[in-house]
Amino acid sequence: MSDDHVYMTLAEGHEDDSRWAYGTGFEDPLHGVDTTVPEGVDAGRLAADCVALADDALVSAQRLAEWTTRAPELEEEVALANIGLDLLGQARLLYARAGQVDGTGRDEDAYAYFRDAEDFRNVRLAELPCGDFAFSIVRLLVLSSWRLAHFEQLSAHPDPVLAAIAAKGVKELTYHRQYAAEWAVRLGDGTEESRRRTRTAMEQVAPYLGELFTAYDVRGEVVAVLRQVTEAAGLPMPVYRPLPGAGRAGERTEHLAPLLAELQSVARAHPGATW
């Protein structure tokens, strides 16, 4: 068999459906997974949790992708794109699970491309513009530390699908956090300029920490990680100052709508398009 066999397989005629993956029915990332919702699990709540966590990941992945061709070094560009790809994969699995349990049967594209900004439930920290490299690193440090702690808990969720998605995500988030933490130390303990920028970034993320610690009790673990990193970097701990409103309740900054306009434009201009 030649190595191009897989492509030949995918390109074979499937007259009834020509979308990716060319009508194989395999575009569903949860293809063939048992879709039962266990007794005692509130399906509405489960779907809402999955959508919120997927929105965090999708919006973060889009911001990380914006660094492509613009990162300080090629290696960092590859790193940020790879981290974004992991998050995109987590988003796909979580949207697919939400569609299975919320009764609508929506697929991942319906969630990602055909909801408006006010329907998104991501935390607002994820949608803020990239800023400079220091801000993106500090944001990644906060979000990956928080998501890792959250996913560790979710690995024991009574829904086996969400638990499995979380357990898989823990491995990925561990090295996302590692990457961000090492850079935060390097920048904070670097030149006067890198220290100034990293210190500013810490101040900029501070108001958005409050809404991370509402639903699940992960504050202790996240604060411990931030303390470890800021001490190693010689940086001050970000001072928690609560902002009114919450991204989880649908309150948005002005930055999400333009992000979605770019993300959704092709899918909306050509619904059902093949590429």
Binding site: V6, E12, V33, E75, D86, L88, L148, A167, K168, E221
Partner: protein, 171 residues
């Protein structure tokens, strides 16, 4: 019963030979992605696959290819299942798979990290890892980038023979 047993062995053999789309020197069995091949009472072949990374873009191709190979081999009823639990680990790459990786100039992974129950610790001091150069065998190597062309690999270089090489990460 004997026929069914022979059949399921044959089906497993077919599925095991399917190459990975990104690392075509490995089969899905070598990579540890093919978790099971079973046959139900009505003769349906059920192949179970697990993704390496959540964002692995090759999953759809792997599923399509396993199904196509089984159908080509005469199995008319084929079902592909996605298994997420337990999550894939690089420890599942077989000894045969590791040998093939090294043969193709890619350093195979060491043992995956395990942590006890409770929060995953963050280690800020540099972790010294010894990776032998897949070309000359020297242990005098260094990491150039922890992220590379695919999620599963890092970029390293050998300080003895001066060649860069890829390295499959432990996860």
């Amino acid at each position: 019963m004997v026929t069914v047993l022979t059949d399921v062995r044959h089906a497993r053999h077919i599925a095991e030979q399917v190459p990975d789309p990104e690392l075509p020197m490995l089969t899905l069995a070598d990579l540890g992605v093919l978790r099971a091949v079973e046959m139900t009472g009505d003769g349906t072949v059920v192949a179970s696959l697990t993704p390496t990374y959540s964002g692995c873009p090759a999953m759809a191709e792997m599923r399509a290819d396993v199904a196509a190979r089984l159908r080509d081999a005469g199995y008319t009823r084929v079902e592909i299942r996605t298994v997420l639990d337990p999550p894939w680990t690089s420890d599942w790459i077989t000894p045969e798979g590791r040998r093939k990786l090294a043969e193709h100039g890619i350093a195979p992974p060491g043992a995956a990290p395990h942590h006890a129950a409770g929060p995953v610790p963050l280690v800020l001091s540099p972790v010294r890892r010894t990776v032998a150069c897949p070309r000359c065998g020297s242990a005098d190597t260094e990491e150039t980038s922890r992220f590379a062309a695919t999620s599963c690999k890092a970029l390293w270089r050998c300080l003895a023979c001066r060649e860069p090489f890829e390295y499959v990460k432990e996860i």
